[in-house]
């Protein structure tokens, strides 16, 4: 268990820069990856509603855990035994895929993590998590989009843009950089040239709608092409019918399945954002089985679909699952948990330097809890995200601290998350 922080190491490229370019140097991305045939991808899954990190990855070695989490605490005994990750932590048994990836060093956990937000409103918490700003009140652009925007003009990742999965675009990927939208197809497509005519009308009268509709049509075409072997006129009946919203286990799996196809394509987007709802487990949360376990099973299914669907590209992919904050360490009066602070960040993908739990474990004694109620945060979620962006796409610490996560210089990029 250790905290990994960035040590500054100016590259040879920087040394060769002419004098007076120190500022520019700080903004230059590192292209260390350009030559090694890597084609990095980053998938961000936002778990809305605040995931109970202590039930996803339980600190079963902590003497106070079982008492605080009561009936829903994970345990290595019994019919639904948690899956041990190391001698101290075990993952919820609803996540066998994650456990396997962890064993294969393709998954990691950052525990006791939180953004800089310390209140307990979902909606402000989500805005902070997704906007990347230090506090609430910024809802125009998200950090993932600004990361794309911060790449040099002409950069391949920037040109290919992002992918937003679901009927509305998650804040994390909203912004000026191009974003493709996609959700499972559900209605028969219009006949004739209606789409072209509407587009033409929008181009003359409402460019905002023109851009949105064009992107929607493009994404649909790409997803369909792959699905039915290039024949876009007749979708397979029943193919990709929505299986419930993105708050159901089947819906999560299906969203990942479709997204994987788009991201795997050579000319597909290299970053993607998905939002899964339903993690607000105030009552009857369940532990190794039950409501939360069902959702975790859906998330696990999404990891599996990405692994399957990305094929060759899995080795270049990092998936990160984040949530606005954690939940109370002690279960509440209705065998659930109320809004808290520290929680987990889950990392998976062939590009992840996995098999590790990264945590400066704060302990669960009353005095060790944040405000005597929540898992105290010892890692900054932004440090994790900045580390991923730095190592996958070569964004510099300065850009990350300025543009992508404003006012976050103190949260240094957590390096070494990528293999």
């Amino acid at each position: 268990m250790s905290l990994l922080c960035e040590t500054p190491h100016p590259s040879r490229r920087a040394v060769l820069m002419t004098g007076g370019a120190l500022f520019a140097w700080a903004y230059l991305p590192r292209f260390a990856r350009a030559a090694d045939n890597r084609d990095p991808r980053l998938i961000v899954i936002v778990l809305r509603g605040a995931l109970d990190g202590l039930s996803a990855v339980g600190p079963i070695g902590d003497p106070d855990y079982a008492g605080l989490h009561g009936d829903i605490a994970l345990s290595l005994a019994g019919p639904h035994a948690a899956l041990p990750l190391d001698g101290f932590f075990a993952v919820n048994p609803a996540m066998p895929v994650f456990a396997r990836l962890f064993k294969d060093k393709q998954a990691a956990v950052v525990h006791a993590a939180a953004t800089g937000y310390r209140e307990r409103s979902h909606f402000d918490g989500q805005d902070v998590l997704e906007s990347g700003f230090a506090g609430p009140g910024h809802v125009a652009t998200g950090w993932l989009n600004r990361a794309l925007e911060s790449l040099p003009a002409g950069d391949r990742v920037a040109t290919l843009g992002g992918l937003a999965v679901g009927p509305s675009t998650p804040l994390v990927i909203r912004g000026a950089a191009p974003v493709l939208g996609w959700a499972p197809q559900s209605l028969p497509p219009p006949a004739g040239d209606l789409a072209e005519r509407v587009l033409d009308l929008y181009q003359h009268r409402d460019p905002v709608l023109a851009v949105a509709l064009q992107k929607g049509l493009d994404a649909d075409r790409m997803a369909l092409d792959d699905q039915i072997g290039g024949n876009t006129t007749k979708p397979k009946s029943g193919a990709m019918k929505p299986k419930g919203g993105l708050g159901s286990a089947a819906g999560m799996r299906q969203a990942a399945q479709g997204a994987a196809k788009l991201i795997a394509a050579d000319d597909g987007p290299r970053v993607a954002a998905l939002a899964f709802d339903g993690w607000d487990t105030h009552a009857n949360e369940g532990g190794a089985t039950g409501r939360l376990a069902t959702l975790l099973g859906g998330l696990d299914g999404a990891f599996e679909e990405f692994e399957k669907g990305l094929g060759e590209r899995w080795k270049d992919t990092a998936i990160v699952a984040i949530t606005e904050f954690g939940r109370t360490a002690q279960i509440n009066g209705s065998v659930g948990t109320d809004h808290g602070t520290g929680t987990v960040v889950l990392l998976a993908g062939g590009a992840i330097k996995g098999g590790r739990i990264i945590a400066d474990w704060p302990g669960l004694k009353p005095a060790q809890l944040y405000e005597q109620r929540d898992l105290a945060p010892t890692s900054d979620v932004r440090a994790v995200l900045k580390g991923l962006l730095a190592d996958q796409f070569g964004l510099s610490a300065a850009v990350l601290a300025d543009k992508v996560f404003p006012e976050s210089a103190a949260a240094k990029p957590m390096r070494d998350l990528i293999a």
């Binding site: 409103s121 909606f123 509305s168 028969p188 949105a212 509440n332």
Partner: protein, 498 residues
Amino acid sequence: MAIPAANSPPDPVLVAFNRFGLGARPGDRDRAAHDPRGYLKAELRQPDIALISLDDPTYASLPGSTPAIQASMAANFQRKLDRERMAAATAQPAMASAQATPAQATSAQIAPAHPLPPPTAPAKPAPPIEATLFRAEAQARLDKAFRAEAGFVERLVYFWSNHFCVSVAKDNIVRASAGAFEREAIRPFVLGRFADMLMTVERHPAMLFYLDNQQSIGPDSRAGKNRRRGLNENLAREIMELHTLGVGSGYTQADVTSFARILTGWTMAGREGRLGEPGSSVFNANAHEPGDAVLLGKTYPAAGMGQAEAALNDIASHPATAQHIATELARHFIADDPPPAAVARLAKVFAKSDGNLRALAATLIDMPEAWSTPLAKMRSPFDYIAAIRRAAGPGPANDPGQSLNWLNALGEPLWQPPGPNGFSDQADSWASAEGMKIRLDTAWQAARQVKDVGNPNDMLDAVIGPSASPETRQAVARAESKQQGLALLLMAPEFQRR
């Protein structure tokens, strides 16, 4: 921004029907044209306009929330029995060949007295009662939208229903009662007092259930001591954050916890009826945290359920609540970033009128900003579908299935928001790439099923009117078929924006 007619004020009749209402039906514009403001205000004067009348034979069978929840409880109980019976039956091996050997005959004697029917393929099972209730309520809501004059009061119903949302994804109890919740706790008050709506909403079984208050028990109450259960602060937090004061208005975690204590005991009577009529809202003194409580700096003496009533009344008239509601209303009816002066005026009316929502609605109509601001917001999916039906004719009679499917695809499933903050009220949430693609599919499906499409050019005049842009006119006029012309009309910026 390339909004039509951005430089001149929008056509007032279009403002009345799109910004305030649910879109014009053919003929509606003529009735409103001479006085659009007066046309909207006339709706506010109609008695009981917001109610779904149970005197109407179509709706007479809609049950109240209590019988609806009872039906769901009974069905739940039956489903449990069925599951147990199935489990018992599969545990009982080879029942069918019980006559074969003496050993099996013995085991048959301890089998249930009524053996299971032979395993023939069952007829298609009847839908669960919760689904039947949900569809009947959805149909009533869609009918009401179709029949409304301008639809301003219906829009207020949707606004408040989203403000005080519940989600059917929570549980069968909410699925059975979400429609009744809107009829009982929202509709009667949209032109009444905010405090009355607040009190009714927070006491309604659907809300108590949705935000877990029926599970919240005062730690020092009799039930808390006996059952070693305790607080659930979900309802308390969302009342302050979402329903009244608004986030960042100054309350603390201690206020949330204290309010949760105050609210303990507000619950729903269970199936056994120990606390009262099953499925009804009751106060359970045994679960109520005893003693005085401090909330937002004020002490509320122990008073049973009166303690929470007193606290809610104070919160309802708090200046932060006025500000919060005023901002939301202005955002909904004027612009994503509403003019501060408009918000200030609404907040003042809210405070001066003791939260009189009819006065607030009239203030909105009288606001110059409402008539001068470009129509740049997007119709929400429900508004869009209502407008399609009103323009192109009602959907299949007594079958809300298609409209409900459209709502699901467009990302606004009925009474199923992603969280207690409801669906987004920002234009760009609905003008998303995927959203626009599905709107196109929806428009096409709607246009294709109209049996006898009239001249699309005439429909354009009837639904959008003289301010339709030349490009929209041309696109509709040059369509290759009447269906395509109608679909183009339903996709036109003038039809999407409000």
